[in-house]
């Protein structure tokens, strides 16, 4: 008997009576069938966006960063805003797969696969920005500490941008490994069910010769734990390091020690919102409502209201410190040009979307409403985009010397580039939804032992037993 006993009063993690075969059927069969019309529509829209993004990037690389509306005062705008935004979104996957695994949160199994995929794709999108935003992209390899014959010329280890390079690339590598190692047993399942040669070949290669032997399972479990252990500090470190891009500078509005926890909370906040957005669509289209239940969404909404309140606290702390710190430049940045001034509107969009509106999730009814969850997931990500915009642009546009004050509106290649990353993200996600099991089949099967209708039915026998008999049976069990 499995060690874990879960009360039958608890909400099941998987709805309906499922046996293992049924789970496999439910999750794997969409991979084997032809995709629906909606899939094609979505996929081609994504491809079109990706194409436009590629054109925008080509335009910018060919003619120079000057086609963007950045200027002598505002050196970063939509580019780095989008970078931080996508990296932030990428946090949910690892948090769900690593930290929740370590905390033995059973509900993670329903969402972790998609969330991890989202992480990978989001980090891929994020990585575009710091590379493409360079004035000389073709020299981007200069940021790598590679041996060379020019002295050697070495990178500047003092620069937070360099830390970013390491942080993001490590994060991407570990997340990818984690995700892929989880996929191995499921790929093997697809391979074993495959009716076409090509599928057998491709999934056979992808599953690395998985046989399902006990040794494989044992190693697989160990690897998961090791990677979870590795990823856990990464969840905290990546956005901490991203926040150092700002925190270590001298610009009022950037130069604050509160950034690391504030950024991490914000990242989880936006990441969970993005997971909600994607899963609500996925469960609907792939008919996975029984695996991705309202209970899952509620759990994530709880995290959203928590992290939303954390960022809210951070915003207020920033304001307090701007006043209490008695630094006139910082005071002006926060009170005159961030909360007010020509870009003040962006601050209030941020406040509304990130702090005020998520408070609806204090109500259970709201947490469990699919419509509200979906709407809020979008709102939160709009808010988080504006948070990064506010931090970057409202600090830069009116800093120390008023002679250099400027204003910023994006140009079409900047918007196009952002749209292009949506294209990339959804192209990847659509391919993922079609060719990969969007729910971790093997893991879901493992929780069927402790949750779901089957478990409850089995437990009801015990529940109905008189206590004495149960105690007697336990005492005399062999």
């Amino acid at each position: 008997m499995h060690l874990k006993y879960e009360s039958t009063l608890r909400e099941p993690l998987v709805d309906g009576v499922k046996d293992y075969h049924q789970v496999t059927e439910d999750i794997i069969s969409p991979i084997e069938a032809k995709p629906g019309k909606l899939w094609y529509v979505g996929f081609f829209i994504s491809l079109a966006l990706l194409g436009f993004g590629a054109f925008s990037v080509f335009w910018q690389i060919y003619f120079g960063v000057g086609v963007w509306n950045l200027n002598k005062t505002i050196g970063w705008g939509w580019d780095i805003t989008n970078f931080v935004w996508w990296v932030g979104i990428g946090h949910a996957g690892t948090l769900i797969s690593a930290i929740l695994l370590l905390f033995r949160q059973g509900w993670r199994t329903g969402v972790n696969r998609a969330a991890e995929a989202m992480t990978i794709f989001a980090v891929m999108c994020a990585g575009q920005f710091p590379i493409i935003h360079m004035g000389r992209v073709w020299m981007a390899f200069f940021i790598l500490p590679y041996p060379n014959t020019r002295g050697p010329v070495w990178v500047n280890f003092n620069s937070p941008l360099l830390w970013d390079v390491f942080a993001i690339s490590t994060y991407f590598t570990v997340s990818l490994l984690f995700w892929y190692s989880g996929l191995l047993p499921d790929f093997a399942t697809i391979r074993d069910r495959a009716k076409t040669k090509l599928r057998k070949l491709l999934y056979g290669v992808a599953s690395f010769g998985w046989t399902g032997s006990t040794k494989h399972w044992q190693r697989h479990e160990s690897l998961s734990l090791v990677l979870a252990g590795l990823s856990t500090p990464l969840v905290l470190s990546v956005h901490t390091i991203v926040s150092f891009d700002f925190a270590t500078s001298v610009i009022p509005g950037w130069h604050t020690t509160i950034f690391p926890p504030y950024f991490v909370a914000g990242a989880i906040f936006s990441g969970f919102a993005m997971v909600n957005t994607l899963l609500i669509i996925t469960r609907k289209i792939l008919n996975l409502e029984e695996y991705i239940t309202v209970g899952h969404m509620e759990a994530m909404n709880k995290v959203i209201v928590l992290t939303g309140s954390v960022v809210g606290c951070a915003y207020l702390t920033e304001l307090f410190m701007a006043w209490y710190g008695a630094n006139p430049y910082e005071f002006d940045t926060f009170f005159k040009y961030r909360a007010a001034g020509p870009l003040g509107w962006s601050y209030w969009i941020m406040m509304t979307c990130n702090v005020i509106s998520p408070q609806v999730f204090w109500f259970r009814k709201m947490r469990r409403s699919v419509a509200v969850t979906f709407f809020m997931s979008i709102i939160v990500n709009i808010g988080m985009w504006f948070e990064r915009f506010v931090i970057i642009c409202t600090s830069l546009y009116r800093d120390y010397l008023p002679s250099s004050w400027s204003y910023y509106r994006p140009s079409w290649p900047e918007v196009g580039f952002y749209m292009g990353t949506f294209g990339l993200f959804f192209t990847c996600y659509f391919l993922f939804a079609k060719y990969f099991p969007v729910i971790a089949v093997a893991e879901i099967k493992s929780i069927l032992k402790t949750s779901g209708e089957n478990f409850k039915e089995k437990m009801e026998v015990y529940e109905e037993q008189p206590d004495e008999k149960f105690a007697h049976d336990v005492a005399h069990a062999h």
Partner: protein
């Protein structure tokens, strides 16, 4: 020892047949390269390596074949005086339109690349202006005429001479020139005219000073411009004369005036400067006390001032504020009698007579005004010009030779001039391009650029300067003097003629060589200054002023911009892109109006106005003419005045930079019968409903009370010299030495040279010469209007201009801002690739080749002085066809202006001020070669050299004898501060607080009152 045999397998032990077979073949499998086809290969590793090797080699060869071949042709016979890599300097002079600036021209490998002031001149003492700095670019102007033309078709000089000589014969000839400072050229013209009886020479200035000349003729019997001596004046009153920006010879006056504005705590004295004007001029921006009036009241203000200094005229009624100002100014003038000066920008003879009367009354004649040794800066005569135009229209002129002047564009009644020109049989232009006048002339006989010419100049009587070629003529042009000589029938080449004249005058060829070497010939001792007895008809002038037509509700005034001036050098991308000192606008003219007036057009200063480049467009009508221009709000302009800069609206043929930019405002000037008026007393203005983008480099006007600017009044400074730097005491909290004690990190002590700069806010008048000098020295790119509007301009040194106080009459402060070369530079530690780093001499350096353009350094620069190459401005990019060049700056011709010592930056890299590191290296190496330590003053930056006011001091702060060391540690300890030093950036540039000589602020009064009370108690 036992010989055991070990077997590797059973097959070996039993020695089966199969095993024997295997032993026979050394390689049990087929070698992979013997297999056929790549896909069949059983061991493709070797094939892979083969293909890898081949493709790498092929790619290398292919790539190396593509390398473009650049031709570098070495000297076959090296000219004796040219050493590649070593600059030659030639003395020359800038004399365009009568401005007088003796120069040194730096040439590299035979190309002039930089203009510097000639410090041996007693008049300018090395001062330059932005226009003079930019003149070297005009040499390489692609729009210059490259050959003589007849009716627009190319011809030879021989053919042109033949036709011209035939055409000139018989009829009276008129030579129409701008002010010529050259006595020898005038002699040549005289000889030429003598050949054609009835001929004459008419001098015409685009912006006329006929009023002063006429007034001096009436007052002193001499039609001259006196030499002004601002350095002797304790009180200067300017009645609309922009003597620091555009009036007569501003560099000379800035140099003189700056001498009276230098101040330190030991000697806390400075001149007092009053300005009465209509628009906000550079001089007004530097005033201690400034009052605004309508342009039609200029005479009234002069009269009131005369009355107040004791003249026998009645003061007209004026606005109470202005009247108060007149009273104050008069009091100060009287208190400093004999050490005071009044100058007026009016071109009205009567107003200038009154000004002469004032100067006479306050004893300026002979002390600050020298009539004995007059200046020749302007010689134009409006009445003669008017007569010429009338004669032309009457058909009385047979031939007209236009020399360095462009009346079809800038004359009061250009249409009438153009009409008249059609009636002149023979029209010849010496102008350097197909400008508005040349276009209408039959013959174009283009003159050399002054950097290709021989000439002399007499700026002040007895003070000569020379012009000598710094390069062979680039085109088939010919010196105007040669043309005159040829047409006179004199076969002497101009150079021999000039040399002959000077050898005769100086008494020998050696003296002539020395004169060329020095660039100047001046009296050994300055001749005594002299006044003249004033005999002007004050009563008559006053009556005429009083009877002048009163202005309407709104009035219009024309002004010259510091960079563009009268429009002669308009096709100069550097000057077009130089931000106007007051408006900070580039590439345009516009209607300057006050905030009060702007409100009537539903726009005003504020966030919306700041963040949108699109400004409302106004239709301005006066004197039956109209122009449509965007408005620009200029704090400090009189609320009922519209001001428009002249020099814009040039024809397309003038060149790519000037053509079609802005509108011609000369149409609003008018002839009053004696002189030209540059204002219109009645004007109507209406909004057209359109909007038009204006490219400003600075949109926010206030420094928000931040301690980046420190200023105080003279009285307060005398009372407590430390008051201005009170906030620096906060730094003491960190310990004895803020540099060392306010950080956790170590401190580098700079044992060798440590470069430093000091900028005096008191003597920075904001003229912008440094910006252009820097642009020329450091190959700073021109980006064009659209990119300036996107805040992509590249200037390494900018002049921040801040307004404070009353929006209708604000105080102005200029702050040159350039890389501060912070010893704890925020830019340096954020660069991921270490492209920007610190030298052991304290210079913040850029390694362009290493820069990848993340812009992190620019974001983290508190001074915002770093400039990214947003586009491919200059072709230094590996991408084809993406050059962004709006002004022909990349033509092979224009590129000759590039300084070979400074690399041209490619697209995508960051750049900024380098402290002219190439010049510093040069100075160090020169000292090293001479085997001695470098002396103070040997290493100079371009901005420092260009500054007429010597506001910039640069040097080695470790050298206790250096000026910079003395400023920081001895002379200016009270005024010295660093911008944003509290952030511990440790800048290498310090500023000296601005001191205004005005009535004390309430704070000082309160303090002194308090002190006295305490004293009495």
């Amino acid at each position: 020892m036992e010989q055991k045999k070990y077997w590797k397998g059973l097959e070996e032990l039993h020695n089966t047949d199969a095993h024997q077979e295997i032993v026979k073949n050394e390689f049990s499998e087929e070698l992979p390269f013997e297999s056929e086809g790549l896909l069949n290969a059983r061991t493709p590793r070797r094939d892979f390596l083969k293909y890898l090797g081949f493709t790498t080699a092929a790619a290398t060869i292919a790539a190396s074949c593509e390398t473009p071949i650049k031709k570098a042709i070495p000297y076959v016979n090296k000219p004796e005086e040219i050493t590649p890599g070593v600059a030659n300097y030639y003395a020359s002079s800038y004399t365009i339109d009568g401005e007088y600036l003796p120069l040194l021209v730096k040439t590299r490998e035979g190309r002039p690349i930089k203009i510097e002031g000639n410090t041996s001149s007693a008049i300018t003492q090395g001062a330059t202006t932005a226009k003079a700095q930019g003149a070297v670019l005009s040499l390489y102007d692609t729009a210059r005429l490259r050959f003589p033309t007849i009716a627009g078709n190319e011809t030879t000089w021989a053919e042109l001479d033949k036709q011209v000589t035939a055409a000139l014969s018989g009829a009276p000839v008129v030579v129409l020139s701008s002010t010529l400072l050259s006595p020898t050229t005038k002699k040549v013209i005289g000889e030429f005219l003598a050949k054609y009886p009835g001929s004459r020479h008419v001098v015409y200035d685009a912006v006329s000073y006929s009023g002063i000349l006429g007034a001096n003729e009436a007052s002193y019997g001499k039609r001259v411009i006196p030499s002004y001596h601002f350095e002797n004046a304790k009180t200067v009153v300017s009645l609309g004369a922009d003597f620091l920006g555009t009036w007569l010879n501003p560099a000379e006056y800035a140099k003189q005036f700056a001498a009276t504005r230098k101040i330190n705590a030991k000697n806390p004295e400075m001149s007092k400067h009053f300005v009465f004007e209509s628009t906000m001029s550079l001089t007004g921006a530097n005033a201690d006390e400034r009052y605004t009036h309508k342009p039609s009241e200029a005479g009234a203000v002069a009269l009131a001032l005369l009355a107040a200094v004791g003249g026998s005229v009645t003061a007209p009624t004026l606005d109470p504020k202005v009247a108060e100002g007149v009273k104050k100014a008069a009091a100060s003038l009287k208190a400093n009698a004999g050490k005071a000066l009044v100058v007026s920008g009016s071109n009205d003879v009567n107003v200038q007579i009154i000004v002469n009367a004032i100067n006479n009354a306050i004893g300026a004649n002979g002390s600050t005004i020298d009539l004995a040794n007059p200046s020749n800066y302007r010689q134009g005569n409006d009445a003669e010009m008017a007569k010429l135009v009338a004669d032309m229209n009457a058909g009385a002129i047979g031939s007209l030779i236009v020399y360095g002047t462009n009346p079809a564009y800038d004359y009061v009644d250009a249409a009438k001039f153009t009409e008249g020109l059609k009636k002149v049989k023979t029209t010849i232009s010496f102008n350097d391009r197909v400008d508005e006048t040349t276009e209408l002339c039959k013959f174009a006989a283009p003159d050399h650029h002054f950097l290709e010419s021989w000439n002399d100049a007499e700026g002040r009587t007895g003070y000569f300067s020379f012009v000598q070629p710094t390069i062979s003529p680039l085109f088939k042009t010919r010196a105007a003097q040669d043309s005159f000589l040829t047409w006179t029938g004199n076969t002497t080449p101009w150079v021999d003629y000039l040399k002959g004249a000077w050898v005769a005058k100086l008494g020998g060829a050696e003296a002539w060589d020395k004169a060329l070497q020095d660039g100047i010939v001046e009296p050994a001792t300055a001749p005594a200054m002299g006044g003249a007895s004033f005999s002007g008809d004050v009563a008559g002038a006053a009556a005429k002023i009083n009877s002048a037509k009163k202005g309407g509700k709104l009035e219009l005034v024309l002004y010259e911009k510091v960079a563009i001036g009268n429009g002669r050098l308009a096709n100069n991308p550097w000057l077009q892109e130089m931000p106007d000192p007051i408006t900070r606008a580039t590439w345009d003219n516009y209607a300057c109006i006050s905030n009060t007036l702007a409100k009537t057009f539903a726009t005003q200063l504020g966030d919306d106005y700041e963040i949108n480049t699109e400004k409302k467009v106004l239709k301005i009508k006066a004197k039956g003419k109209e122009v449509v221009l965007p408005l620009l709000i200029v704090p400090g302009i009189h609320p009922d005045v519209v001001a428009i800069a002249v020099g814009y609206g040039r024809s397309e043929k003038t060149g790519k930079a000037a053509g079609g930019i802005g509108k011609n405002a000369y149409i609003f000037s008018s002839f009053n019968g004696t002189t030209v008026d540059y204002f219109a007393p009645e004007v109507t203005v209406e909004a057209t409903g359109d909007k038009y983008p204006v490219a400003l480099t600075q949109t926010h006007n206030s420094y928000e009370g931040r301690p980046i600017i420190k200023e105080t009044t003279l009285e307060e400074f005398k009372h407590n010299p430390h008051e201005v730097n009170e906030d620096r005491k906060e730094l003491d909290k960190f310990g004895k030495d803020f540099r060392k004690d306010a950080t956790l990190y170590g401190n580098y002590s700079y044992p060798g040279i440590k470069w430093g700069m000091s900028i005096d806010l008191n003597t920075c008048f904001g003229c912008g010469a440094c910006t252009i000098a820097c642009q020329a020295e450091n190959n700073v790119s021109v980006v064009g209007k659209e990119e300036v509007a996107k805040a992509h301009e590249m200037h390494w040194i900018r002049i921040d201009r801040y307004f404070s106080g009353d929006e209708n009459n604000p105080e102005v402060v200029f702050q040159p801002m350039l890389c501060q070369h912070c010893d704890n530079a925020p830019c340096e530690n954020v660069c991921p690739v270490g492209a920007t780093n610190h030298s052991s001499e304290g210079i913040n350096q850029m390694a362009y080749n290493r820069c990848i353009g993340t812009r992190y350094c620019a974001n983290n620069c508190p001074y915002k002085v770093r400039r990214l190459n947003w586009r491919d401005w200059n072709g230094a990019d590996s991408f084809e066809n993406n050059l962004y060049d709006v002004a022909d700056m990349n033509d092979n011709l224009t590129r000759m202006v590039l300084n070979p010592d400074v690399v041209v930056r490619s697209r995508g890299v960051m750049e900024k001020c380098s402290f002219c590191v190439q010049k510093l290296q040069d100075a160090k190496l020169t000292a090293k070669k001479a085997g001695r330590p470098m002396k103070d003053g040997e290493a100079k930056t371009a901005c420092q050299m260009a500054c007429a006011a010597d506001a910039i001091v640069f040097g080695n702060v470790n050298d206790k004898e250096s000026a910079i060391y003395k400023i920081r540690n001895e002379e200016q300890t009270e005024r010295m501060y660093y911008v944003l030093e509290e952030t511990h950036t440790l800048p290498s540039i310090n500023y000296l607080a601005k001191i205004r000589n005005k009535d004390a602020a309430p704070k000082a009064e309160k303090e002194s009152a308090h002190k006295e009370e305490a004293h009495h108690a």
